[in-house]
């Protein structure tokens, strides 16, 4: 029954997302929506690698930018326009994956903090490369072909492509989490050396997750590029990209399936809205930083795990209150009740943690 309820909930959310741009046709709203879906896909993809493996990457903007430039350069070279540009997204994925293999082989040799620093180094190398190559258009960047569809429903093709990417990525995240592969990733997160001693071949497992994550991020970057209309080094390779994605995942719950999704669906629209309301873009950045601090200090495990635990504890309290009321009946031994209450709340805590995944 719980599975049924969950499936119903997922279908309801999908239905809302599917009709959203048909109901709300305001261009400002749909623009924010497209942006949100792209970032949600990126956040879920980031979580597949960093959330599950515990290796925090601050260099995923490399793949985002690579996807953007791949679509830009290929569209220019082959003079593609209109819908055909969407056909370049698999190419963006392939290039991002091709780049992720050597980068992963280098970075994944080191652990934790050193890994983070190396991913940041990759990020700066990528940004500087884009600025200095002629094929990427140097500091002036590269322009996307103008989409040729109707202005009234201009955002719709982007919206549905982004939605499809997000749905597929989330399904992948769900599939991976429950799989042997996902279990190996989470074992690596908890104790990589111990996992190796139990037969987990850590490098191929980590690399596979890194590449999968890069593939989606590259496609998100390619889509974003076509949507925005241009790529310049400081926006295609943007340090704020990684900060945003990390905050989204941490806010919702690192390593959970729904966490990064929830984080992106709340944070990205808020950021976009703030930027529109107060043309000073630094305000949203300052608030993003403040939110990051608040999450780390107040909700270190994220909204979803903490929330699920709170709900389960509340349920357990209700149950034990009911048990206490029933304890008045003659069949019960007086000694039974407190022990039972204790057990049930412990069970609840466990199942809550389970639910929070």
């Amino acid at each position: 029954m719980r599975t049924g309820a969950r499936a119903g909930g997922i279908l309801a959310v999908l239905a809302v997302l599917a009709v959203f741009p048909l109901v709300l046709q305001n261009a400002t709203v749909t623009t924010i929506a497209v942006d949100t879906l792209i970032f949600a896909a990126a956040a879920v993809a980031w979580n597949i690698f960093s959330g599950y493996s515990g290796y925090i990457s601050l260099g995923h903007a490399v793949f985002f930018g690579t996807g953007a430039y791949t679509v830009g350069i290929a569209a220019r070279a082959w003079q593609l326009t209109g819908d055909a540009v969407f056909g370049l997204l698999p190419l963006a994925a392939a290039v991002a994956a091709g780049l992720a293999v050597p980068l992963g082989l280098i970075a994944l040799r080191v652990r934790r903090h050193t890994f983070v620093v190396i991913t940041i180094a990759f990020f700066f190398i990528a940004q500087l490369t884009a600025t200095n190559l002629s094929v990427t258009g140097g500091s002036s960047g590269i322009l996307a072909p103008s989409p040729n569809w109707d202005a009234a429903t201009f955002n719709n093709p982007f919206y549905y492509t982004a939605l499809a990417l997000l749905v597929v990525t989330t399904a992948m995240s769900w599939l991976i989490r429950g799989s042997r592969f996902g279990l190996q990733l989470r074992a690596i997160r908890d104790d990589e050396d111990r996992a190796a001693g139990l037969g987990v071949r850590a490098m191929p497992v980590k690399l596979a997750a890194f590449v999968i994550s890069a593939i989606v991020t590259g496609m998100a970057g390619g889509l974003w590029f076509y949507f925005i209309g241009q790529a310049i080094p400081q926006f295609a390779f943007d340090p704020l990209f990684d900060l945003s994605v990390v905050v989204m995942a941490f806010f919702g719950g690192l390593g959970t399936i729904a966490g990064p999704l929830l984080g992106a669906l709340l944070i990205e629209p808020a950021q976009q809205w703030l930027t529109l309301q107060y043309t000073n873009e630094y305000l949203s950045e300052i608030l993003l930083g403040a939110l990051f601090l608040a999450v780390i200090l107040g909700l270190p495990r994220g909204v979803i795990p903490t929330g699920a635990e709170k709900i389960a504890m509340l349920r357990a309290r209700l149950r034990s209150a009911r048990a206490a009321a029933a304890a008045g009946s003659p069949e019960r031994q007086p000694g039974d009740q407190p022990q039972e209450a204790g057990t049930s709340s412990r069970d609840a805590g466990t199942s809550a943690r389970e639910a929070g995944r």
């Binding site: 799989s179 042997r180 279990l183 989470r186 908890d190 139990l198």
Partner: protein
Amino acid sequence: MTVMLRAEGVSKAFGGVQALRDCTVEVEQGSIAGLIGPNGSGKTTLFNIVTGYERVDGGDIYLGDSKITNLLPQRVFAAGIGRTFQLTRIFPRLTVMENMLVAAQHTGSKRTRNPLARAGGRADRRRAAELLEFTGIAGHSDALADTLSYGQRKLLELSYVLVADPAIVLLDEPAGGVNPSLIQHIADRIRELNTAGKTFLIVEHNMDFVMGLCGQVTVLDYGTVVAAGPPQIIRSDPRVLDAYLGITEEDDDAGPG
């Protein structure tokens, strides 16, 4: 009797410290062997070398007839050596069952596997559940490993090492820091597994535990083997008393009073 595990002339130095010097240790198939020695005598280093966590400077490790010197930990595990750690190492944010399944998925032959298949097939889960039942922590199957007590963690570590059915199990201080009734429980489990054919090599400071359980005991001191033999011989060997108990007496003398 056939030798199952053999460390032959193993040497290992950390900087200027010679942790192991030309050290030879053998474990017979189907036995429970003990490895004792004062702190810093090289017991855990030998474990780390055998299981691939450290590389040897010299010497070789054999499992049966095959040389496994300097293999990576995952290969050593696949070859059939399971181990536990002195300070228990479990996966705290996985459930107890998931902890078991990490090791379970590497069992069996090299048949093609689907990495995206659900973790733990029915057979793996059944075997994991049986082992948890056997070690006595089956009731915690769905709890996060983080919530287990220290003794329960020791039992979980023992359980998940057994999931893959290794040929030999190396236990690093299975009784360390565990309450006396649980020590008995652990010793009984080891004895039962041994009766069923499992080979053990045990590092332990608890002399009663080692002497009561092991058929063969090797004594290390300053990285070299000073004695090897059945417990009753080891107990009275003057070199052992000197290396091991001698230090204990000095410690006692140095104490207050």
